[in-house]
């Protein structure tokens, strides 16, 4: 874990309300594992005050990317940031995706900006010799951020403007019909409603599901106790999303315990 002021090397809008920031940090890039996130200070001043959490989108050599929606004050400031300016970054944080255990195929299911952790994960899994497919859903084609580097991707849009018309659960159903469920693990990130629907579906099909969560955070490093999610198993009632998570086996947590943010 490092706290660093890192130079921005790219800042770009890549789809409707979707932006990418790339910056340089040899140390963080070397330590990062898929599913981990960064806590980024939005301002040198006190408003906005708290750091903002962003998944590590991609790592290439000493460069890291985040991909984000502009939803409020902090993200609006990130979208204004220019190449050459620096960002105050804390990371890499959190427990990575759980990659241990038996599986040889991975389906990465994203809803909207839930695409964030998937390219890094996909690259990593390919290097481990796994087969990787992406299922990427959004309301409409204009909201899909695809720079051609996404591995083996299928798309779902609510309005049918790109790929499958419908949601990612429907498209995953189709994928399973085409390709079967043997040796498969699903990794998912997106709105809680999507994760819950996916949870029900995967349960029904007996497919293991690993989810990457978001919830409001203050510190991001386990010192404030501000980010609990209720556990479905084990002795403790809550775990902290910032350190124990944000990546969980879906069956270990009660997702409904996290209130909607917006």
């Amino acid at each position: 874990m490092y706290q660093q002021h890192v130079p921005i090397t790219r800042s770009q809008q890549v789809a409707q309300n979707v932006h990418v920031l790339e910056f340089q940090s040899e140390a963080i890039a070397a330590q990062a594992i898929p599913g981990q996130f960064l806590n980024i200070r939005p301002s040198r001043f006190y408003d906005p005050f708290l750091r903002r959490a962003y998944s590590i989108h991609r790592v290439v050599d000493d460069r890291l990317e985040i991909i984000y929606n502009v939803v409020g004050k902090g993200s609006a400031l990130f979208a204004e940031a220019k190449v050459g300016e620096t960002l105050d970054i804390l990371g890499p944080l959190g427990t990575p995706f759980h990659l241990e255990g038996e599986f040889h195929r991975a389906v990465l299911v994203s809803g909207g900006v839930g695409i964030a952790p998937m390219p890094f994960l996909g690259d990593w899994l390919l290097k481990q010799g796994k087969q990787v497919a992406n299922i990427y859903g959004a309301r409409t084609a204009a909201m899909i951020a695809d720079d051609g580097r996404l591995h083996n991707a299928r798309y779902a849009t609510d309005d049918g403007s790109l790929g499958y018309r419908g949601n990612v659960v429907g498209l995953l159903d189709q994928f399973l019909a085409d390709e079967g469920a043997d040796g498969l693990r699903v990794f998912a990130c997106g709105p809680n409603k999507m994760l819950m629907a996916l949870g029900d579906f995967c349960q029904l099909r007996g497919v293991p599901l690993e989810v990457s969560l978001e919830c409001q955070m203050a510190c991001g490093i386990g010192i404030c106790q501000g980010c609990p999610v209720e556990m479905a198993t084990g002795e403790r009632k809550y775990t902290l999303v910032c350190t124990h998570g944000p990546n969980y086996n879906y069956n270990d947590i009660r997702l409904e315990s996290i209130p909607a943010v917006h």
Binding site: Y2, Q3, F49, A218, I223, C224, Q225, R236, I258
Partner: protein, 314 residues
């Protein structure tokens, strides 16, 4: 230059981490060497482990601060003593155990359990948590109760004992006087202010318990005024807390009369703040000709303009 001793407790410098804002002092070893701090004040420890409140526990406010309703989530005294304390000692931290409870007996129980262990430099007693139903603030706003808790604990320990006061009272000086009279070595001022925020879209409170503890840079002027009030009320050392982000902020508390200060919410934004604050205080002392921290403490100049004095201000 910045060293200070109060009773048995030696503080290398006046900068401590505030309870509940630095975990057990063990969470970010990569970032920070805790032995360089004046001290680590632990998360409030209770007799039994506490799960804490349901989410939403935190919310940023637009005023440069945040609300929290953590609800004293902690591992309980047994796990603390078995697992956390030895690690803190190994890292050579000055350890102040913060204790929370819902009865006088429970405060005594937790303190007595701690007394069985070496390596604890002192206690800070949280009689001021706004975020739990049982105890906490209900003690903190009841002066005879605070006096009784101080008396009972004082009779059970020779270690450094500081009572952590709530600012959510009309006259904090009165509470400080009660603590002083019952033998407290210091008072920690202040805990969070009660605050509230809502989402106008949903018309719902931003945190689950509706109101919560307000902290961060926004509260500094209010906290400083409370420390000033306490300074006038008692002779015992004050630990100044509330909205400190920088060395300048810390110096304000020292000048008003705090002997030590604590960094709280700032650590969520800048976990390494303690290093810069310690350095900044030292630089300030050098630049302004203070060779001892004691000379800076209480160096406030409140000489009034004669016209104000004539008008009856004091």
């Amino acid at each position: 230059m910045t060293e200070l001793q109060i009773r048995n407790a030696r503080f290398k410098n006046p900068v401590l981490t505030a309870s509940g804002t630095f975990g057990y002092g063990l969470e970010c070893p990569d970032l920070f060497d805790v032995s360089r701090l004046g001290g680590v004040v632990t998360k409030s420890i209770s007799r039994k482990p506490r799960d804490g409140n349901p989410p939403q526990r935190i919310a940023e406010t637009s005023s440069g601060g945040m609300l929290n309703s953590i609800g004293l989530a902690n591992v309980g005294v047994d796990v603390f003593l078995d697992q956390k304390l030895p690690a803190l000692i190994e890292r050579k931290a000055t350890v102040i155990v913060n204790i929370a409870a819902s009865s006088v007996e429970e405060y005594c129980y937790v303190l007595e359990r701690c007394e069985e262990h070496e390596g604890i430099d002192g206690y800070e007693i949280n009689v001021s948590c706004p975020n739990v139903k049982d105890g906490g603030l209900s003690f903190g706003t009841d002066c005879p109760a605070v006096a009784q808790i101080t008396r009972e604990l004082r009779s059970r320990t020779d270690r450094f004992l500081s009572m952590k006061l709530t600012p959510n009272v009309t006259s904090i000086g009165e509470f400080a006087r009660a603590c002083e009279a019952e033998g407290a070595d210091a008072v920690s001022c202040v805990n969070t202010f009660i605050g509230m925020d809502i989402d106008v879209g949903t018309r719902r409170p931003k945190i689950a318990t509706i109101t919560g503890g307000y902290s961060g840079p926004a509260i500094l002027p209010m906290a400083l005024a409370k420390v000033y009030e306490v300074r006038k009320a008692v002779k015992i050392p004050i630990i100044g807390i509330g909205g400190i982000m920088t060395a300048q902020d810390a110096i304000k508390f020292l000048v008003v009369g705090a002997s030590l200060i604590q960094l709280g919410t700032v650590l969520f934004v800048d976990p390494m703040a303690a290093t810069t604050v310690v350095k900044g205080i030292e630089e300030y002392m050098q630049q302004n000709g203070f060779s001892q921290i004691n000379d800076l403490i209480g160096a406030l100049d409140v000489t009034m303009q004669p016209s104000l004095v004539a008008a009856g201000w004091s």
